[in-house]
């Protein structure tokens, strides 16, 4: 199975990754190799095997419903590039 240039562009766009024009063929090749490996595994008979949700054979532990986090806005916003009136500012996302 091989991915072409358009597939690579689409995947990159969905992941919001900027890729260099000249690197695209190599990405296409590498990603195709991964799919080939998966295809190879398809040969294994998995009729009675349930799909795995997690590699650890354990169940989720639960937390009791208590508020344990204080307001740390000042600290947490000290690493933000732009803040105003307590809000994080980002470049406008709609027109």
């Amino acid at each position: 199975m091989s991915l072409d240039r358009t597939d690579v562009d689409k995947i990159a766009h969905l992941a919001r990754l900027q890729i260099e024009e000249q690197d695209a063929p190599e990405y296409a090749q590498n990603l195709s190799n991964i799919l080939d490996l998966v295809n190879q595994m398809q040969a294994v008979d998995t009729t009675d095997v349930l799909p795995m949700a997690h590699p650890l054979d354990a169940a989720q532990r639960l937390r009791s419903d208590n508020v344990t986090e204080d307001n740390q806005r000042e600290l947490l916003q000290s690493v933000a590039p732009a803040v105003e009136n307590g809000l994080f500012l980002v470049p406008k996302v709609i027109e």
Binding site: P55, E84, G86
Partner: protein
């Protein structure tokens, strides 16, 4: 051509937990921006989610209430998309193994018929933050207080055929989640919101038409308007030779129309996969049965009890039990005033009228159930008449206070002293001799009606405070004494 609408709904109910679904930050509404967003909610590197047991319990409660299959092993998946109010770059949700599987509810329509609506599934997920687009030129402000608030997304089958059915379904789900105590149901604060999927097809056709989705509607009235408008728009479009394009639309309440939302480009490719940060949620029969045993009375049972215990009509019982908070309010009044019919009339009459006029929900009513109960008690014991009670109620509504204080301070207490009433009656008789003469000369069977005039005069003279029953008796006695 005759058309048929097909409607399916997705309801997002914020679960009423104290803390978030994966972190210990508070979920309280209305805090200063970003004061309830901790490192986990901000997706800072190295943080990991820990699942809130109360969110699980609430979701299971809902599943049991809609008679659904409960997932013994449910799994969180990542729904990947990029938006600034979703710091992780994915929403933790459940696609492949939701906590609640196929269930159903029965809705009752205006004409009294019932219809079963399928609930496809309900799954747990986290809410996103809020984006404020208008406050800063060229920038968007992000408040992440809401990020990580637990949501139960309740997905219906495309079983509804009209806006009326859709609204009945939403009301029923609203009533269920509030009765269960798993959601406060506050639509204006966004605790309960609805996405409507609407398509139309020629009546009799099997295949569905192309559907549009109208997102995030947060009032019953707008749900109805948005669906009615969208059905019309689609039919007009097709009849004019066009075709419906699958799209996400936004409801504009001011213009009462839906319009196309700028499509998030390729946003529909969410590339779901199981979340490696969270293990599967495993529950057993004992866990489920324990929850089943703690389920409160649900709306249908409450309605049945209202007709049985309080002897309310089917209609009254339906209206009063439809909203959990309304039903509870009603029962507190009954408890105080010991008169279910009177309580029903007041809740559905005066109270609902003022709530509607002021566009208020019962939980925001300026008059609480104890106050209203106290007022009805004074009607019951003849301290005031029903008419004066409306005056007291209006004062209560605008100025607060309890019935006894208002009756006292405004001097509205009913006059039951027969001496005082007799005096007024005598005055009225003396001042209205032409009418008295007519009364005396009238046929005996006409007099009953004519007494109404004197009643009116006496009540007016007493400023509505005379006890109507007593006035009637004394009037009749005195007038009839003049006849012979």
């Amino acid at each position: 051509m005759e058309w048929e609408a097909v409607i399916g709904l997705e309801i997002h109910a914020q679960l009423a937990t104290k803390s978030k679904i994966f972190s210990g930050a508070s979920t309280a509404f209305g805090a200063e921006p970003n004061t309830q967003a901790c490192a986990v909610d901000l997706a800072l590197p190295g943080t990991l989610p820990v699942f809130n047991e109360e969110a699980l319990r609430m979701a299971v409660k809902f599943g049991l209430a809609v008679d659904a299959e409960i997932g013994r092993k449910s799994v969180f998946d990542r729904k990947n998309y990029f938006y600034p109010d979703l710091p992780k770059g994915y929403q933790t949700s459940q696609l492949f193994h939701p906590i609640v599987g196929i269930g159903h509810i029965d809705i009752t329509l205006e004409d009294g018929t019932t219809k079963r609506i399928g609930v496809t599934r309900a799954h747990l997920e986290e809410d996103a933050g809020k984006s404020l687009h208008d406050e800063f030129p060229g920038m968007t402000g992000i408040d992440l207080n809401r990020a990580g608030t637990p949501l139960l997304e309740i997905v219906s089958e495309p079983d509804m055929r009209s806006a009326e059915e859709a609204v009945a379904y939403v009301r029923k789900i609203h009533s269920l989640v509030t009765s269960l105590g798993i959601c406060d149901g506050n639509m204006s604060e966004g605790s309960f919101r609805c996405d409507c999927n609407v398509s139309v097809r020629p009546k009799g056709q099997e295949e569905y038409g192309t559907r549009t989705e109208t997102k995030n509607i947060n009032s019953f009235r707008f749900i109805e308007k948005a669906i009615v408008g969208e059905i019309e728009r689609q039919i007009d479009l097709i009849e004019d030779g066009g075709r419906v394009i699958q799209a996400t639309r936004l409801y504009d309440a001011d213009k009462n129309e839906t319009r196309s939302m700028r499509s998030k480009e390729e946003a529909n490719d969410y590339r779901y996969f199981p979340c490696p940060d969270l293990l599967p949620i495993v529950i057993d029969d004992e866990y489920i049965e324990n929850i089943r045993n703690t389920l409160p009375e649900l709306p249908d049972a409450r309605k049945a009890r209202f007709t049985e215990e309080y002897k309310l009509s089917e209609y009254d019982a339906m209206v009063l039990s439809a909203d959990h908070n309304m039903a509870t309010y009603f029962e507190i009044i009954v408890e105080t005033a010991k008169d279910a019919k009177l309580a029903a009339n007041w809740v559905m009459g005066e109270l609902s009228k003022l709530l509607n006029q002021h566009d208020l929900d019962i939980t925001n009513s300026p008059v609480n159930a104890e106050q209203l109960g106290g007022l009805l008690l004074r009607i019951k014991d003849d301290t005031i008449s029903g008419k004066i009670a409306k005056q007291v109620f209006e004062v209560m509504w605008s100025e607060g206070g309890n019935a006894d204080e208002i009756i006292e301070s405004k001097g509205l207490k009913q006059v039951t002293d027969s001496g005082a009433i007799e005096q007024i009656v005598d005055e009225v008789i003396a001042n209205n001799s032409p009418q008295v003469e007519q009364y005396v000369n009238a046929e005996p069977d006409k007099r009953g009606k004519m007494i109404g005039f004197f009643m009116g005069q006496v009540m007016k003279a007493s400023q509505g405070k005379a006890n109507p029953g007593q006035v009637q008796g004394i009037l009749k006695q005195k007038l009839d004494a003049l006849v012979s």
